[in-house]
């Protein structure tokens, strides 16, 4: 090929590559624009304060109610329950893999956790229906086990791989000298783990938890299938709940285009977006803090 042609091809592709970089910006911009535009359309009809503080969600009633509190409370209960299960298990597993497991065992455990992460959410939701729900119904003597506890157990399973992977990285990254200093003054392995390694890895572990929370809040299919989806103000783990994601998934298929109800679902999505963004940004902040701390 002529030199000139090669050179112009080079310049041409430089712009092609750059354009794809800008496409990513356009994608995030597009998502934001969609959320903002539709939320504004919603707030033309319903006062933002009524939306955020209303305690009843019933858009199909004669006088439609667009109160978000039950939805936010549902998401919070399920996520909180999931974290109570997943945090100790996740940190325990991360500590075991990083500090106790032999290299050979590590080579088995790490792919196992990747496999767990690979299971589609709809399959986990299906397990919620056929395994967890009858289990809960039997143990708690309920007519069915489609409730917040079911969702929490499933979300814990879904958040565990994220928590384990990030926490394991953090524990692994704690400098060896810290541990040696601790052993040097006579501490046992466990004491070193609890009093030295985990505190030193704390920002990374907090990051792991925040990323797990982000994953749990945004998860749709498992909660949609396993929590019963009753639009009531939940009072405990055995209540049926309808999370923000499940509400969007159920109602978007039924609403007419560009009605108040349609816009309301985008307003929920905006709140959901802000919540997951906050969780992920907190996670990232702690990861960076952890890196800076140990780079110094």
């Amino acid at each position: 090929m002529k030199y000139k042609a090669r050179l112009s091809l080079d310049i041409f592709f430089k712009y092609v590559f750059k354009a794809t970089g800008l496409l990513v910006l356009a994608l995030l911009g597009g998502i934001l624009a969609m959320l903002i535009y539709n939320s504004f359309s919603f707030f033309m009809d319903v006062k933002p304060l009524d939306f955020i503080t209303g305690i009843e969600w019933n858009p199909t009633a004669k006088i439609p109610k667009y109160g978000m509190v039950p939805l936010i409370l549902s998401t919070t209960i399920v996520t909180f329950g999931a974290m109570i299960i997943a945090i100790p298990l996740g940190i325990g597993t991360a500590a075991f893999i990083s500090e106790y497991a032999s290299p050979r065992l590590k080579n088995i455990l790490k792919p196992t956790i990747e496999m767990l992460a690979a299971i589609p959410s709809v399959v986990i939701g299906f397990l919620g229906i056929v395994v967890v729900s009858p289990g809960i119904a039997n143990l708690a003597d309920l007519s069915n086990g489609l409730n917040a506890l079911n969702g929490a157990i499933l979300l814990a399973v879904m958040a565990l791989p994220t928590i384990i992977t990030v926490a394991e990285d953090a524990i692994h990254a704690v400098p060896k000298t810290y541990k040696e200093a601790s052993y040097g003054v006579g501490a046992t392995k466990w004491q070193t783990l609890r009093k030295v390694v985990i505190p030193a890895a704390a920002p990374g572990i907090i990051a792991a938890v925040m990323l797990g929370v982000g994953r749990a809040i945004g998860e749709t299919m498992t909660v949609l299938m396993a929590t019963g989806n009753a639009s009531i103000l939940p009072t405990g783990m055995f209540d049926s709940v309808k999370t923000m994601t499940a509400t969007i998934a159920i109602e978007m298929g039924e609403v007419p285009y560009q009605t108040t109800h349609y816009f309301a679902l985008y307003a929920i999505a905006t709140v959901l977006f802000i919540m997951t963004l906050a969780a992920n940004m907190l996670g990232e902040y702690f990861i960076n803090r952890f890196r800076k701390y140990h780079a110094a």
Binding site: L9, G92, I119, S121, L277
Partner: protein, 285 residues
């Protein structure tokens, strides 16, 4: 005496951590055991080669299988070129300035956006604004957008591992930057890129939330596979059979069979990725 009790406590401590690890593995075992033990009897040549019949209470799952294959294909055709090109831009061209930092921050944010929001975006952009309607192409592009951040991140990691001396060698013998990328960098990073692509597609193939309102259908007559029409997909089929079907108990065996086929597909894709990564690491050493 002190020694003995110390030894005991250290065993208990070790046991606690081991127990939590075993519990995590137990979750995976439960999922696989439940689905394999109850789905295996359903599995047959007919099950994967016949279309659903009698209101989906009989027949196979050929239609959702075809739908998922075509859907993943569209996702791949869209997300691979754009994702790889964006990673090349970030890794090979971009300077460290505000634009690059904004793009990187956007990618991190996009990978944390819940999949249902991608579904809403696909609905607003492809189905409504661009008038594709609820269709295979709208759903495929939606999943393509969802996959983009993962492809970019994994490709960038693969490009990062190529030593600078490789680039300099190509440039020194007179190759232009584009030729260096096309003939030297991409081929050397190929296995890393492929690993990321296969893992991303396995995730996309199992996604349900983004296709709920962009084109997945309850039932389709025959096998159809036109890009402008609605389609059946394995994950949506499983969701529908286990929660929406009018006789849920009757179709439970088919739901197990569908779940089994779905996790087999996803695990096979994952194993492929592990294999590529393993071979690559071996060659590297």
């Amino acid at each position: 005496m002190l020694r003995k009790s110390q030894k005991l406590t250290s065993v208990i401590e070790w046991g606690t951590l081991l127990l939590s690890t075993l519990l995590v593995c137990f979750f995976l075992v439960v999922v696989i055991w439940e689905i394999v033990s109850k789905g295996a009897s359903q599995l047959s040549w007919e099950f994967v080669t016949q279309v659903p019949t009698d209101g989906m209470t009989k027949g196979g799952i050929l239609t959702p299988i075809i739908g998922t294959v075509l859907l993943t294909l569209i996702t791949a055709l869209f997300s691979i070129p754009f994702g790889v090109a964006c990673a090349i831009y970030l890794q090979e061209y971009a300077e460290d300035n505000w634009l690059t930092r904004t793009i990187r921050a956007s990618i991190r944010n996009l990978s944390g956006v819940p999949s249902i929001i991608y579904g809403l975006f696909g609905l607003a952009l492809f189905v409504q604004a661009l008038q594709f309607g609820t269709s295979l192409i709208a759903a495929g592009l939606t999943l393509g957008l969802l996959s983009l951040p993962y492809i970019i991140t994994t490709t960038e990691e693969a490009l990062m591992r190529i030593p600078n001396s490789t680039r300099e060698a190509a440039l020194a013998v007179g190759a232009t930057k584009f030729e260096t990328i096309k003939d030297v960098i991409i081929p050397s990073a190929m296995s890393g890129i492929l690993t990321g692509v296969v893992l991303t597609l396995s995730r996309a193939a199992g996604e349900t939330a983004p296709i709920l309102f962009t084109g997945a259908a309850f039932y389709i007559n025959g096998t159809s596979g036109f890009v402008n029409q609605e389609f059946m997909a394995l994950p949506y089929h499983l969701y529908m059979l286990s929660t929406q079907h009018q006789s849920i108990d009757e179709v439970r065996p088919i739901a197990y069979g569908t779940a089994l086929v779905l996790i087999v597909v996803v695990f096979l894709l994952n194993l492929t990725a592990f294999y590529i990564r393993y071979k690559y690491r071996k060659n590297e050493n």
